[in-house]
Symmetry: C2
Subunit: 212 residues, 2 copies
DNA sequence: CTAAATACCCCCATATTGGGTGACATTCCG
DNA sequence: CGGAATGTCACCCAATATGGGGGTATTTAG
């Protein structure tokens, strides 16, 4: 049983471009089961009303006058955690995508989508999905992928992984059932291979090159 | 311009269930632009042939006799990095999903999908997307989301974040333009709030509760 | 206004880290 | 087969980092 068959989906819009905003209002209200309860051109006004509007879904732009969308997502999640927030923006910048997801976005669409995609995405996010534009999904998945040409051996990778979790040499030795001296040897070799001279540098380089 | 208009998409299958495997072969070969170049019931045989088969897309099961799919993905990426690997499995287990993505999977479908979804997903992965089943996408997006009820202040979160990157107190102090003693105070407060007594414990707890 | 957050200071003991050098067994690849 | 890479352990040393204890003062947000 899907959600939209039993309840009206209440939608809020936060989008500063009047043309786009009004276009979305019209598009969405044409769909049975959707109701746009309110549409704002900035986050501040939206946040004042979110607890009255009680939206199921919020379509949020990122580039906004005043408070930006990322901050807006965070505050929305604090004030009304129940809402599903879908980012709708022109930006495909890596950093913004991850910040938005960390802040609590449940979906991320770029504005170059066909408008019917928006309708599908709203149903999808209400049914427990996480709708994303093609490129965004790829970005997200790519962020997990490890470097398949790591200079580190598997044991070294294991050690570095534990080091990156804040473990001391002794902790690591216990965890791997080897001697602390062996851990030290591994770490020396890791430093040599990565051309670094400290834990922080090693972790930084390893993260950047997706070795861990 | 999309890929499948100009080239035949070569597909390999790795799936131990004979019925499912043959069903996929039939389904995919019916589609213009697709060619199943070979179908295996285990990873070992597939890996022996991948460099000859030169697939554009590999549909990989996870639960397999002998080598499992995760290991299979890793080895495939080493032998023939060009291939896009799509996991097709019954498992929706968190751990397996993330391991598969880390290993190099470019898409992740569960077997309860409508069969036409598989066809779409193959076109999608060839066009730079990362097709995922609804629940998988949600899992992946949820893995980014931070706890919106952190007991830590924003400054404390910042400090803990840097600590988790292996930085020393002095490093952190420099990075935040504050005194080392201030960093120490913050860390003492963090430990008190998280009820821990060491860096490793703090980082572990913070990761688990998605505070950082 | 008051509590929380932020920032800074001191003391002390212990643990951790980084660098140097050397050794021995196993495993894997050519 | 043989050498390279890997994984394991040992001992030296000095500098730094860490955790716990005790304070104080200013700023900020509800």
């Amino acid at each position: 049983m899907s959600y939209q068959n039993t309840n009206l989906i209440k939608i809020c819009l936060v989008e500063d471009d009047n043309i786009i905003r009004e276009g979305f209002v019209t598009l969405l209200n044409e769909n049975q089961g959707f109701k746009v309860v309110s549409a704002y051109n900035n986050c501040e006004d939206f946040l004042k009303n979110v607890q009255n509007d009680k939206p199921n879904v919020v379509l949020m732009d990122i580039e906004l006058p005043g408070m930006n969308g990322i901050e807006g997502i965070e505050r929305t999640k604090k004030l009304y955690p129940h809402a599903q927030i879908m980012v709708v923006t022109v930006y495909e910048n890596d950093d913004l995508v991850f910040k938005a997801l960390c802040a609590g976005a449940g979906g991320y669409l770029t504005k170059n989508m066909p408008s019917q995609r928006l309708v599908e995405a709203i149903r999808e996010i209400m049914n427990g999905g996480a709708p994303m534009s093609t490129n965004i999904a790829r970005l997200v998945v790519a962020s997990f992928q490890k470097n398949h040409n790591s200079p580190l051996s598997s044991r070294e990778t294991e050690v570095l992984e534990l080091l990156s979790r804040g473990k001391s040499y002794s902790n690591i030795a216990e965890g791997l059932f080897i001697d602390k001296e062996t851990v030290r040897t591994h770490i020396k070799n890791i430093y040599w291979k990565l051309e670094v001279h400290s834990k922080a540098e090693a972790i930084e380089k390893a993260m950047k090159e997706k070795l861990i």
